[in-house]
């Protein structure tokens, strides 16, 4: 559900190791929120004036900041707006963000600041379509980030806990909607007996969802390129081991493999992908879709081309299709079996093209002999220490923060339900808390409540007149 005048917050600066990072808060209660976290709070804030102070979460010091209040309508969104200028590290920024959220703001939806700016007349009509595109693109990015972070055991464990809660709800609602079947429903003490285990489980999950972890996880790196250009050989060369399948027939690597490796002090999470190629083979098609997704998700793209063929038109098109913000390195592989640079393509030198078409850096390598790998590693090191990669994507941080908030909400609601059951509060009230838990967990998984409870009652119990 979207709300309109409630107060939203997000990190407003691009991810990276900048000196200053901004958290922006917008909405009717922006001042109220800042009043709860910023000390010393000047009370009557003057618009467009800088204030110096500290952000606190209760009594925990978070960051030393400057704060600026922009009174409605003289702000980006035309609403009351607060900007907090803190230290640039993503970890500190996300701590400031979560403090603000714990104190009354809500995490902004993808593109929501821009949407509000538009709805409040700040942007002109010509920009409206761009707003729609922005919402679409950011939503897609957030969905991918959510899927990725829910991978592994997390979504399974969430679903398990959520299913338990649905089952309790079905029992409670059965006894309410079908009182003639109430003896079949489990009573409060039976549910109470299980509540602690679920609360415990959710608390453990919450610990795994912190922002610091993303930044420590490594630079997500995608190796992409047409089939049979030597992507898997390159991965193996980097890893010094033989995990990926390497085969002469085009199109044999269909899944996205990930490997963690430390290259020149830089932690990388490398995704080896299926060859990019137009295909009708359904299995391979899935592989290629995954390749595109992996490339979209990556902070660093290693684009492998075959130096014996040179950069083809297809290569150019693919490289151009990647977002401008991506860090891309082009690797001309098989330099050992071509003469000279070996980087010929379509009759013209790639180096010339590099200048005219603004291609990303181009590095001749031989995945087979290891030639050129040192140069690749030093490029990666430079990118990392320049702060271009290794900060975690913006969407990742937002997604993880969203998950953390929702898990915290779910735990609070569930603890309430447990207390209510314990105190003998009537079922219709306990149901409200359980339902809120169920909805919060569903939001993490991106699913709505729908007719779940009714469906569960009819699946589990034989009721009806």
């Amino acid at each position: 559900m979207i709300k309109n005048s409630d107060t939203i917050a997000a990190i407003a600066t691009a991810p990276g190791v900048g000196a200053v990072g901004i958290v922006r808060v917008s909405g009717d209660d922006a001042i109220g929120v800042i009043g709860r976290v910023f000390r010393p709070f000047p009370g009557d804030m003057i618009s467009h004036k800088m204030y110096y102070g500290k952000i606190f979460r209760d009594d925990d010091f978070i960051d030393e900041v400057m704060v600026c209040y922009m009174k409605s309508p003289r702000s980006f969104t035309c609403e009351d707006c607060i900007e907090i200028y803190g230290h640039g590290g993503m970890f500190v920024l996300s701590e400031v963000l979560s403090t603000v959220i714990e104190n009354g703001a809500r995490l902004a939806e993808p593109g929501e600041f821009t949407k509000r700016a538009f709805l409040n007349g700040r942007l002109n009509l010509a920009q409206a379509e761009a707003v729609a595109d922005l919402i679409g693109a950011k939503t897609a990015a957030a969905r991918r980030a959510a899927l990725r972070q829910l991978g592994g055991g997390l979504s399974h464990r969430l679903k398990f806990s959520r299913d338990k809660i649905l089952s309790w709800l079905a029992h409670i609602e059965l006894s309410i909607d079908y009182p003639e079947h109430e003896e079949e429903a489990r009573n409060a003490s039976e549910i109470l007996g299980e509540a602690d285990a679920v609360i415990n489980d959710l608390q453990k999950l919450a610990e795994t969802v912190n922002v610091g972890k993303i930044i420590r996880e490594g630079v997500r790196t995608a190796i992409v390129g047409r089939p049979n250009v030597g992507k898997s050989t390159l991965l193996n060369a980097i890893l010094h081991e033989n995990r990926a399948i390497v085969h002469e027939t085009a199109g044999t690597t269909r899944d996205v493999l990930t490997e963690e490796v430390r290259v020149a002090d830089v932690p990388l999470v490398i995704m080896d992908t299926a060859g990019l190629r137009e295909t009708n083979d359904p299995i391979e098609k899935i592989g290629i879709e995954k390749t595109h997704e992996a490339a979209l998700d990556a902070e660093l793209i290693l684009y492998v081309a075959d130096a014996t063929e040179g950069l083809t038109a297809e290569d150019f098109n693919t490289i151009k299709s990647f977002s401008k913000n991506k860090n891309i390195l082009i690797l001309m592989n098989k330099s050992d079996i071509t003469s000279g640079h070996g980087i010929q393509g379509d009759g013209s030198s790639v180096l010339e093209l590099h200048e005219t078409e603004e291609l990303p850096p181009c590095i001749p390598i031989s995945a087979k002999t290891g030639e050129g790998l040192e140069e690749l590693f030093s490029h990666i090191r430079d990118l990392f220490f320049a702060g271009n990669i290794g900060t975690g994507g913006e969407t990742d941080i937002i997604t993880r923060e969203r998950h953390r908030i929702l898990l915290a909400q779910a735990i609070t609601h569930l603890q309430n339900a447990k207390r209510e059951l314990h105190e003998g509060i009537p079922e219709d009230l306990v149901s409200v808390s359980l339902r809120a838990t169920y909805i919060a967990l569903g939001e993490i998984l991106g699913v709505e409540i729908g007719d779940d409870i009714v469906d569960r009652i009819f699946a589990e119990f034989c009721v009806g007149k």
Binding site: P110, A132, I135, G136, T139, E173, I176, D177
Partner: protein, 623 residues
């Protein structure tokens, strides 16, 4: 304003009465005037969520609550230990008396003409209703039509290998109208429901069953009914259970049930499964409950709730006789399944009017619902809407009442099986209690012209008294001396210093009446209220104080919800052209054409991002 109501069931009765009371001239066509307000299935009104619906119908000025208060033969308040939001009133009706009562009400309403006759066609001109054609060929002109055909459209009744082309209980079905609806562009669905056998009372051994008596203290359905005036001797229901023998018999004969032999084409229902369905779907369950309910005072027929079936008659009798207490039972009317045509209600507005034909309304089982109460609620809204001039029609949202939830579910999500009202479907259940239905809805009923002045002023007195008393309890401080004896008697912690009465009532172990002696309503207020209204005031005060915290949270949620309902979407919007909206979203929104962003958000498959894009587009168009 001239309105035609097709059908005299629970939807048709409320629709006709509402429209007529607002001032429209109503003609109600029924296939048989002997079946006005017929209860073709269970002999009861109310129950969980359905009881809420009846209270809301009454609060809005409908008839069902008064009808059952006048004709009940047993009354119970269910769920009293499960919290005030889910208290559920349920009453056994004397079916014949109920019908007689309702027919008399219709006959005595000056603006209603009752006519026996089958409507076979709905006539339109310029996408607007112009009249109906009845089977004789006669054309009756009108401004609006309310279709309340229940389970009669192309109905077939089935049990075993027997198929009869009739409506329920062997009554004539309606065959012409389905074709007319199809021609008018409605997508028809085929639904199925069923009913158990009726058994002769003398053939039942009640000593083998658990007795279920009515409540000693009767709570009426209507806010206007004085319980003292409807006290009467009550008739008990009885409970027994199926046995392993029952289940074996059914399994052996499953192939002979119309449910399983392939004879039934329609979509079945989870809400009233046949006993065959129960045995198949819940094979491990050792027994299923069977409730034996009286059909009335002047009849020996007993209804066997839980034993609905489409087995052949020879198997049915064996199945019934395998149940303790029914060993020698005589079946008077056989159980059967019934199939009928209904429309896809997503073709309707929130006022139950067809989106593409002005003045054509639908209410009741034709919209895919099940149940007398669900039907009556829709009939009431359709009646008010059809008779209201120029969009003064009633607006009832999900945060206003179960009726709002019911209609929104039907027209926004649609249903693929008969829809039953359940409290779990209401998001704001703590607000939508049966005790406060009048506070929520009577002002709306008054605005719609259905609540007479006198009732309205009595209502206002009650509402004012509730406010005054809450205020008094919040302001009155009691001293430890005044309170501690009472508190100690209730095992409640004694006071060390003064406390507000309201705070004491919030304690789970303390009730409003415990502090009755410490002052009450101002005498001038008290003297104006009937005793039963005074009791209702006190009940209301207690609930509102005790659950204040929870109610406040839901009020905030409901407020946020209402904001979205107020953001309108222009009716002429072209979804196909919205840049940035996903194709699936464009198609779904174009098909349903939601009136506001709240409704759009509930369309199946629409995401928050879709809504954002739509919001930007609407802003761009409307400036």
């Amino acid at each position: 304003m001239k309105i035609i109501v097709i059908g005299g069931g629970h939807a048709g009765c409320e629709a006709a009465l509402a429209a007529a009371r607002i001032g429209a001239k109503v003609t109600l066509f029924a296939l048989s005037l002997d079946s006005i307000a017929l209860m073709p299935c269970n002999p009861c009104i109310g129950g969980s969520a359905k009881g809420h619906l009846v209270r809301e119908i009454d609060a809005l000025g409908g008839q069902m609550g008064k009808a059952i208060d006048a004709t009940f033969i047993q009354s119970r308040m269910l769920n009293t230990a499960k919290g005030p939001a889910v208290y559920s009133l349920r009453a056994q009706a004397d079916k014949k008396n109920y019908m007689t009562y309702m027919k008399q009400i219709l006959e005595n309403e000056p603006n209603i003409s009752l006519r026996e006759g089958e409507v076979v066609e709905i006539l339109t001109a310029n996408s607007k209703v112009s009249g109906v054609k009845i089977i004789s060929g006669e054309i009756v002109e009108c401004d609006a039509v309310i279709v309340c055909t229940g389970t009669y459209l192309n109905a077939r009744c089935l049990y075993g290998e027997t198929i009869t082309h009739t409506g329920p209980g062997g009554l004539k079905n309606a065959v012409g109208l389905s074709e007319s609806l199809k021609k008018l562009g409605f997508n028809l669905q085929r639904f199925k429901t069923g009913t158990p056998a009726r058994i002769h009372r003398r053939s039942i051994d009640f000593s083998k069953m658990a007795v279920q008596p009515g409540d000693e203290k009767i709570v009426p359905f209507s806010f206007e009914t004085d319980p003292a005036k409807i006290a009467r001797e009550q008739i008990p229901c009885h409970l027994t259970y199926t046995t392993p023998a029952t289940h074996d018999l059914i399994r052996e004969s499953l192939h002979r049930s119309a449910m399983y032999s392939g004879l039934i084409e329609a979509t079945g229902t989870r809400y009233c499964p046949s006993i065959e369905d129960k045995i198949v779907r819940f094979a491990d369950k050792e027994r299923h409950p069977v409730f034996i309910e009286p059909e009335g005072i002047n009849t020996q027929e007993m209804y066997a709730q839980g034993l609905s079936s489409a087995l052949p008659e020879d198997v049915q009798i064996q199945v019934y006789r395998s149940v303790p207490g029914l060993e020698n039972c005589e079946i008077m009317r056989v159980a059967y399944a019934i199939e009928y045509d209904c429309i896809d209600a997503t073709q309707l507005t929130l006022n139950l009017e067809a989106k593409h034909i002005g003045g054509l309304f639908f209410a009741g089982q034709i919209n895919g619902s099940s149940g007398y109460e669900e039907a009556a609620a829709q009939g009431l809204i359709a009646g008010i809407s059809a008779a209201s001039e120029n969009g003064k029609a009633i607006e009832l949202g999900r945060a206003d009442g179960y009726i709002g939830v019911l209609i929104d579910d039907l027209v926004t999500k649609g249903t693929r099986e008969p829809y039953r009202m359940m409290t779990s479907r209401a998001e704001y259940r703590l607000l939508l209690r049966q005790d406060n239905a009048d506070l929520r809805l009577t002002p709306k009923g008054y605005a719609a012209g259905l609540i007479p002045e006198q009732r309205h002023s009595q209502f206002q007195q009650k509402a004012a008294a509730i406010q005054a008393e809450i205020l008094r309890l919040q302001k009155t401080t009691v001293t430890p001396d005044e309170a501690n004896e009472i508190l100690m008697n209730k095992n409640s912690a004694p006071l060390k210093s003064g406390a507000k009465l309201a705070d004491l009532i919030k304690r789970p172990e303390i009730n409003y009446n415990d502090f009755n002696n410490l002052g009450a309503l101002p005498p001038e207020v008290e003297s104006q209220l009937d005793l039963f209204v005074l009791e209702a005031v006190q009940e209301q005060v207690e609930i509102q104080i005790k659950y204040e915290g929870y109610i406040k949270i839901q009020l905030e949620q409901a407020e946020a919800f209402r904001k979205m309902e107020k953001k309108l979407i222009p009716p002429d919007i072209e979804y196909e052209n919205i840049h940035g909206l996903r194709l699936e979203a464009r198609q779904k929104l174009a098909a349903l054409r939601p009136v506001n962003f709240g409704q759009a958000s509930r369309v199946t498959g629409i995401s928050p991002a879709d809504l954002s894009v739509l919001m930007v587009y609407v802003k761009q168009k409307t400036g």
